[in-house]
């Protein structure tokens, strides 16, 4: 047996090929991840994709069937939750209904057998820092959603764990609160240097918060990288489709030339940059994406990729105007027009569109 690769002490978290099955259902299928010190990691994916199970494996609430989990370079795969250097925040906060705010914020320190005076002092500090000191004697039932969220966060952070695991931590909050809370959490993570592993199905959360975004689907990681990377270069058709504003076009590979793949699609022949990847064999099914704001209306002759589209619907979102267009083949294409431009395409219009070749992203 080959020796396992040496643990990297500078990593807060390392997952090596984690697998977890429930009966005949595979929840996590070979997930590997490296989280350097003090990172904000977002696990993004639809419900049932395995992101929460992965998080629970890190917490020790689930035991993976195979693979290793290392926290701060130490192997903890079989360790119980209470022996791991983590804390967790649950979606509905899981506040203890029978404990006052002060009592449950101090719970973690109490478990560490800290002296009573120190617990009282630290709880006071943390409550002040989270601006909930006036709630110290309240019970969870007397708190608003935003207050509960702060209490849950204070309770998790007080022991200064190496990693904070957050399972849809702001999913239970009102929309109006979410943006503020997101900003606060981001700056809190920066200041504390604690790694956050944040599970969400909301791409806005993931891309605005994460240093590293991990997109999961069907128990596997589809793509991981910096937000800009994932946004601009979706690796698979799933990622492209999951991210808002991508148009996915499918066709057959029809030969490569000068770093460009020719794709024979029902609505035309398009060129897509290979970006150093080997060309797929001729005739194989391929897909690529073009972002909706990258489409060009009535393109000039220098634009090679073009197709004519009929406009179905125009929606105005304030920052941009979204057009839902239909190609001859029936494929739906979105075109987003940013800036306060006057509306130039109306429902019923048949308009020619195109895009610069470098805006096409070929999928694996």
């Amino acid at each position: 047996m080959a020796a396992p690769p040496p643990a990297l002490p500078q990593l807060d978290l390392e997952l090596r090929n984690i697998r977890k099955r429930y009966g005949g259902y595979t929840a996590v299928d070979g997930v590997s991840l490296q989280v350097p010190k003090g990172q904000f990691v977002c696990l993004l994916g639809p419900s049932g994709c395995g992101k929460t199970t992965t998080l629970r494996c890190v917490a020790g609430l689930e035991e993976p069937d195979a693979g290793d989990i290392l926290i701060g370079g130490r192997e903890v795969t079989r360790d119980p939750p209470w022996e791991r250097d983590i804390a967790m925040m649950f979606q509905d906060f899981a506040l203890f209904p029978h404990m006052s705010v002060a009592k449950q914020v101090g719970f973690g320190l109490e478990m560490q057998k800290k002296p009573r005076a120190e617990i009282a002092r630290r709880v006071g500090e943390v409550l002040t820092a989270f601006e909930i000191d006036h709630l110290a004697e309240r019970r969870p039932a007397q708190l608003s959603g935003g207050q509960k969220q702060r209490v849950a966060l204070a309770r998790a952070m007080i022991t200064e764990p190496r990693i904070l695991l957050l399972d849809e931590p702001i999913g239970a909050l009102d929309y109006s609160l979410r943006e503020t809370v997101m900003l606060e959490l981001k700056s809190l993570q920066r200041r504390s240097g604690i790694s956050f592993i944040w599970v969400t199905h909301d791409q806005n959360e993931a891309f605005s918060l994460g240093d590293l975004v991990v997109v999961m689907n069907h128990a596997r990681i589809e793509q991981q990288g910096k937000p800009e990377e994932v946004l601009s270069r979706p690796r698979t058709a799933f990622v492209a489709g999951f991210i808002q504003g991508n148009n996915i076009l499918r066709g057959k590979a029809a030969g490569a030339e000068a770093g460009l793949l020719r794709v024979d699609a029902p609505d035309g022949l398009f060129s897509v940059p290979l970006r150093g990847r080997p060309a797929p064999p001729r005739g194989s099914e391929v897909s690529f994406s073009v972002r909706a704001e990258r489409l060009l209306e009535s393109p000039g002759p220098e634009i090679g990729n073009r197709l004519s589209l009929r406009c179905n619907v125009v929606e105005y979102f304030g920052a941009y105007r979204r057009h839902v267009l239909e190609a001859k083949s029936g494929a739906l294409v979105k075109y987003d027009q940013f800036g306060a431009l006057p509306q130039s395409v109306s429902p019923g219009h048949l308009v020619s569109f195109g895009w610069k070749t470098e805006d096409g992203v070929l999928h694996a």
């Binding site: 609430l61 209470w82 967790m88 029978h98 006052s100 719970f107 478990m111 019970r139």
Partner: protein, 290 residues
Amino acid sequence: MLGARGQRPRARLTMHWKTRSRLTSWLLGAVTIGFLLFQWLPMFTMFLLSFAGENGGTTFPMNGVSLHWYRKLWDADLFDDFKPPMLRSFLLALGCSATTVVLSVSAAQAMRGRFLGSGAYFYLLLLGLMAPGILVGFGFAILTRLLGIEGAWNTTAYVVHVSWALPFGFMTMLAVFNRFDPRLEEAALTLGANRITAFRRITWPIILPGVIGTALFGFSLSYDEYARTLFTAGSDGTLPLAIMAQLDRQLTPELYAIGTVTTVMSLVAIFLCTFAFWLRSRALRGRPTP
């Protein structure tokens, strides 16, 4: 048939559905009150007759009003006859209650995670509800005799009583755990509590109201159990056995007085528990903010 709804002739008596629904609720309320009377009136007749005069009998019409039978109960030998069985019944009920709590909480805790045969386990536990008491008691007596064990109120009867109260306690605790959010335990675990600490500090305080209910079941089911005790209590009987024996010998309003006293004791116990519940739920809601 388009428009058929509109063409239907108007009913002579038109009544808004809300009005009808209010009438229905009055009717159901009347039935409920009737049921409650049906449940409590028999006991009330006993309460009344226990306050009969010196020459009062055990049936209506009531002959005078006095505390005579209570005084007699206090003074006379009859009460002395009843004291030991009462003490036995009380101790037996306490023991049954405590055991039922431990077993019910454990059994329901086990049912939280599915295991091989958990379905069979569930039905086997509930079978205790279906089994006719007199047969359970008799069968158990035969079994203990076969094994050469002398029956007694605090050994064989105790075991049978626990087997009777357990299904009730088990069902209660199942319902309690159904509403219990397991993430509370998980939160405690991720905060550094081991399993025992998490149970002690989080699970136990939250399920406590259900545990008190289970304890009440264990107590009251054992305290008035006759059929299962008859063959298993051995020579020293419990209160229900003593009362039945006395009923066989001679029926006087004294027995009504005993019944009233024990019922009042039960009601006081229930009242105290309810009060404790109320205090606790108020504590969970928290004190009203100034």
